[in-house]
């Protein structure tokens, strides 16, 4: 290991610019002659657009244009596409109603786009927007999923019962047979609460059109600029790739919400060509709340069948997933293949059957949010296992151990499509139990009781499928894109290196981790390596960053390109050193003729490649610049155990998290400091979901939790000092043997928190509490209160 190589806790090289306010975010960019946009949004959850009169707005000061859905339709602009086609139980495809970027005949959620005003200043655009007279014919809103499925009110006239699809996975007959033989059946009804992503940087975009070349440029807050170019260019605006550049510069957090192709990107790109001016739009925080795709929002009924020995013999799950008003880019994949394929968890359950209905409602579209389907799955499974332990009287640790997949069972084929490649679940479980001093808990519970507090401990084990994904597998399951990754490794004449990666960093620290990988492989200082990402004019291609895929899929692409460089450099060195290429060894940044003291430094070889005076020109080309694509053969499977300890104030219902232990198997660790930071962030978001964050709509579809006054983001004082460690098992199905770390914290922690609260309240007879476990809910549970919140 070099000082900056694989395994070194190198300080993040990008932090200097971020911490000193020198990041270059979309809103920091200004184009010559730039105009500003304001988007008029629907105040109603569901209404017919009877008339949109823009005449006064168009005449207002500074206004360049006011454009509506009718204008877009007249120009033949397409709808926003969905990137994953799911099939119903009967084999028919899901229903994909139209998703116009600007509403045409109806608005379908509060915040839906009605018109864009383009003016010299943002204030003028906003002033003019208030002059647009919209005649809304307000319709009843459908918010509740059961009401939606009853079909009285239709979000889309061409989607009966508001059902997008009715999907299944697993062997129903085998599962039913297992239940017929069960000694115990444990069932649970759960809501996985809807979350509103809150990246520090709101979404923003700048569109620029060059009339002379016919080229469009879009600067946007995206986790995957090439995907936006593909979706927007091919499906919405019919702009070929060579005429469309998409740049995602520094992006201040995404958590999934910046994966998707949003309406504003298409509206601005289209409008800039119409007005022949660059246009900037930056969301206000209120707009973020009502337009960034939300996360989670499941209602599930699950049953676990156990035999007389407490072995899991069957799992049956029925889930309703709220998909919002429109199908977002990956909205259909999250509650299906990213969710139900993980239902085996770390257990040997032989028969699993799950069915999922997705439902349109008059709410913001729902799509991937940190964890995307896997937190929903883990929450369901670990709440169910905890309940099974209580109902069977088997200790929760023992019950889990009795059912865990053992280290000698890999590769392990689950009954829900996935094949786990490697892992040691008992090892991380034992490590977490020890780190959390599980054995000493009862003493701590007794001590808490003396000061009037109820103390509880909760366990969650989890597994996730990351490194998304093998293209062939994803394609067979309905993905409309490949999911490989690419890298260009450009060695410059004097030996410094620029790497172009198709992944995108928006807080993950790729500029450091990837540079460490290159530093290690080439034996050169990290300062000699630059990581470039985010600009489709610079980066060859890429599928972007989500699903903990950047290192697991993007990393091997970089490694492959590095190895191509080394192979070529060896030929150059062999020629100059007058040796056979098979005798050239490369280590510590030096090419050596085996058994001699003849050597060339990395930079000497690169210089020779670009100044090819003495060069094997008949065999190889000049230059040292290699490209590689990598498509994995399997997902990677991080797993682990999270243990939470809480103290509940029974007088107020307030829950304090007094301990949070995470032991995660993330495979090979490139930068342990970044890994720990990712785990801390994920745990905090998981605690946010479990205790604090809840999106609330009223029955009219108004967003009651539409600002930080009412939507509770986790703050530093809401979380404890974490005990996070890794216990990695090598053998992941990629050359780096990495598994992914971005999502583990958010996946594993929520059920640990809720199980801890239920453990604390068990002496009072409390058996259920829903997320977020707010003080009021906990107090009501303690008091058996049937009082309903005013908003319900």
């Amino acid at each position: 290991m070099t000082a900056t190589g694989i395994g070194a806790p190198v300080r993040r090289v990008e932090d200097r610019r971020f911490l000193t306010g020198n990041g270059n975010y979309t809103d920091d960019i200004n184009r010559p002659g730039q105009a500003h946009a304001w988007i008029l949004r629907s105040p109603h959850a569901h209404a017919k657009l009877a008339k949109v009169d823009t005449s006064k707005a168009r005449a207002a000061d500074g206004v360049l244009a006011v454009l509506t859905g009718a204008d877009m339709a007249a120009d033949g602009v397409g709808g926003l596409p969905c990137g994953w086609q799911i099939h119903n139980k009967d084999g028919s495809p899901m229903l994909e109603p139209g998703h116009p970027p600007l509403a045409v005949d109806k608005v379908r959620h509060v915040g839906d786009q009605v018109a864009i005003v383009i003016a010299e200043t943002r204030g003028q655009a906003r002033d003019a927007a208030e002059l647009i007279a919209v005649d809304y014919d307000v319709l009843p809103a459908v918010i509740d999923m059961d009401a939606a499925l009853a079909g009285g009110t239709l979000v889309h006239d061409d989607v009966p019962n508001n059902r997008c699809f009715d999907w299944e996975i697993g062997d129903k007959e085998a599962t039913d047979a297992a239940f017929a033989n069960a000694a115990t059946i444990v069932s649970i009804d759960l809501v996985n609460n809807r979350l509103i992503p809150n990246a520090m940087e709101p979404r923003a975009a700048i569109s620029d059109y060059d009339r002379t070349s016919g080229r469009h440029t879009l600067y946007t807050t995206s986790q995957n600029p090439h995907v936006i170019r593909l979706l927007m260019g091919a499906f919405v605006l019919q702009i070929p790739e060579h005429k469309l550049r998409v740049v995602a510069p520094d992006v201040g957090g995404g958590f999934g919400s910046k994966i998707f192709h949003y309406a504003e990107e298409a509206i601005l790109t289209w409008a800039a060509a119409k007005v022949n001016r660059p246009i900037k739009w930056t969301a206000e925080r209120s707009e973020s709340f009502m337009t960034d795709a939300h996360g989670r929002d499941h209602e599930s009924h699950a049953e676990l069948a156990l035999d007389a020995d407490g072995k899991f013999i069957g799992l049956r799950v029925a889930t309703k997933a709220n998909i919002g008003a429109y199908l977002s880019t990956f909205g259909s994949s999250v509650p299906t293949y990213l969710y139900a394929t993980l239902l085996a968890g770390v257990y040997q359950t032989p028969a699993i059957y799950a069915e999922v209905q997705t439902v349109f409602t008059n709410t913001v579209p729902v799509d991937a949010y940190r964890g995307a389907g896997r937190p929903e799955c883990t929450y369901l499974l670990e709440r169910l296992v905890a309940k099974a332990a209580r109902e069977t009287g088997i200790d929760p640790v023992e019950l889990r151990k009795r059912n865990m997949i053992q280290p000698d069972q890999f590769p392990y084929q689950t009954p829900v499509a996935l094949q786990y490649d490697c892992g040691d679940y008992p090892a991380s479980f034992d490590a977490a139990l020890e780190a959390a001093d599980y054995a000493g808990f009862e003493k701590r519970r007794a001590a808490a009781e003396k000061v009037g507090k109820l103390r509880g401990i909760g366990i969650s084990t989890y597994i996730e499928a990351c490194g998304i994904a093998p293209s062939a597998v994803a394609g067979a399951l309905g993905a409309r894109a490949g999911l490989y990754e690419s890298a260009q490794v450009r060695v410059h004449p004097t030996g410094s290196v620029t790497v172009y990666t198709g992944t995108h960093s928006h807080g993950q620290g790729h500029e450091t981790t990837f540079a460490q990988l290159v530093s290690d492989t080439f034996g050169i200082p990290i300062e000699n390596v630059e990581i470039s990402h985010g600009d489709t004019d610079q980066v060859q291609f890429g599928m972007g960053t989500y699903g903990s895929r950047s290192l697991a899929v993007g990393g091997p692409a970089i490694l492959k390109a590095c190895n191509k460089v080394i192979d070529k450099a060896k030929k150059i060195a062999a020629h100059i050193l007058e040796a056979d290429v098979s005798d050239i060894e490369f280590a510590d940044g030096k090419f050596t003729v085996a058994g001699t003291d003849k050597e060339m430094a990395f930079g000497e070889v690169s210089l020779a490649a670009y100044v090819p005076h003495n060069y094997p020109i008949e065999e190889i080309e000049p230059g040292l610049d290699e490209n590689a694509f990598y498509d994995p053969l399997n997902f990677s499977f991080p797993g682990g155990c999270h243990i939470c300890e809480v103290e509940v104030d029974p007088e107020t219902g307030d829950v304090e998290i007094v301990g949070m232990t995470a032991v995660d198997d993330v495979g090979r660790v490139i930068n342990p400091m970044i890994v720990e930071g990712q785990v801390h962030g994920g745990l905090t978001q998981g605690i946010g979901q479990a205790l604090l964050e809840g999106c609330v709509y009223d029955s009219d579809g108004q967003l009651l939790s539409g600002s930080y006054m009412d939507y509770t983001m986790p703050r530093a004082d809401d979380v404890p000092s974490y005990a996070a460690s890794t216990k990695s098992v090598m053998g992941a199905s990629n050359p780096l043997e990495v598994k992914g770390v971005g999502e583990v914290g958010a996946i594993g922690s929520p059920p640990a928190v809720i199980n801890a609260i239920l453990d604390a309240l068990a002496p009072l007879g409390v058996e259920d509490i829903s997320m977020p476990a707010t003080p009021q809910k906990v107090w009501q549970a303690i008091n058996g209160s049937t009082i309903r919140q005013a908003a319900e």
């Binding site: 906003r126 209120s286 007088e651 107020t652 219902g653 307030d654 604090l692 609330v696 009651l704 939790s705 930080y708 006054m709 009412d710 939507y711 509770t712 983001m713 707010t774 003080p775 009021q776 107090w779 009501q780 209160s785 009082i787 309903r788 919140q789 005013a790 908003a791």
Partner: protein, 265 residues
């Protein structure tokens, strides 16, 4: 925000005159509520009259058996004042927990009281400690000042210049914060001043801050945490929202009052 005229006043009288002579003028103190309201275009005043330059409106005076805090004194200065800390520690502590550091470094006692947010902390201090609100026109007793949610008995153009707090024998403020906004879901100031016991509740009432007569009467016979906790408050007239039902708020009033009594000693 919409366009408005900005005026900077040199004295309290000039400020009052500027507001009354404008079409729809508003005083601007710390701006911690007003500026966000304007940014969201929820208000459209013709004029903002900035009080920040009026030196006479800043400062804390030790009056022996009272402490007078001038209207433009920031929360952070109340929290850190040796006078307030020694004479009325409950008030210093309350000020130290208003909002966040940014708010405490901009927000003022006068601005908070003029706004009378039903979940703000200062109204509980003024009512619980039986303070007197001093304006450019008169003195208003705490019991006569608050007049419902976001409403006070201040008249058009009337400007708070200071607040005079009698030094209590015992006092403490305890709040249960709204998990999201961290305003008071329920905040209770309990105080013994002279022979009088006062219990003022913020955050809970539909009409803003109010005195919990039931708890005052329980405490007057028995100044103890248990006495406060034993009072079952009615939920009538209490707020209900996505964070707390009226019943939960009613329950929290007794709990917070009992903890405040315990803290007051």
């Amino acid at each position: 925000m919409y366009q408005f005229n900005y005026q900077k006043a040199g004295s309290a009288d000039a400020a009052a005159k500027a507001v009354t002579s404008s079409e729809d003028g508003r005083f601007l103190a710390g701006g911690m509520t007003l500026i966000p309201t304007l940014k969201q275009r929820l208000a459209q005043p013709s004029d903002l009259v900035d009080l920040a330059g009026i030196g006479d409106l800043v400062g804390i005076e030790d009056g022996g058996d009272s402490v007078t805090i001038k209207a433009m004194t920031r929360h952070v200065d109340v929290a850190n004042s040796p006078v307030v800390q020694s004479k009325i520690p409950a008030l210093a502590s309350l000020a130290s927990h208003i909002g966040d550091p940014q708010v405490r470094n901009r927000g003022t006692i006068g601005g908070s009281l003029a706004n009378n947010d039903p979940a703000a902390d200062y109204p509980a201090a003024v009512l619980g400690l039986n303070a007197t609100v001093i304006t450019n026109k008169r003195e208003i007793a705490a019991d006569d000042y608050f007049d419902g949610m976001f409403t006070t008995t201040l008249e058009e153009g009337e400007l708070i210049t200071a607040v005079r707090f009698p030094v209590p024998g015992k006092a403490a403020y305890t709040k249960f914060p709204n998990p999201a906004s961290r305003y008071a879901l329920v905040g209770v100031m309990v105080a013994q001043t002279g022979g009088e016991i006062r219990v003022a509740v913020t955050g809970a009432g539909q009409d803003g801050v109010f005195r919990a007569a039931e708890i005052e009467s329980a405490l007057s016979g028995n100044w103890s945490a248990d006495a406060a906790k034993g009072v079952k408050m009615s939920a009538d007239g209490l707020n209900a929202d996505i964070h707390a039902s009226a019943d939960y708020r009613a329950h929290l009033i007794s709990v917070m009052a009992s903890r405040a009594v315990a803290a007051a000693g």
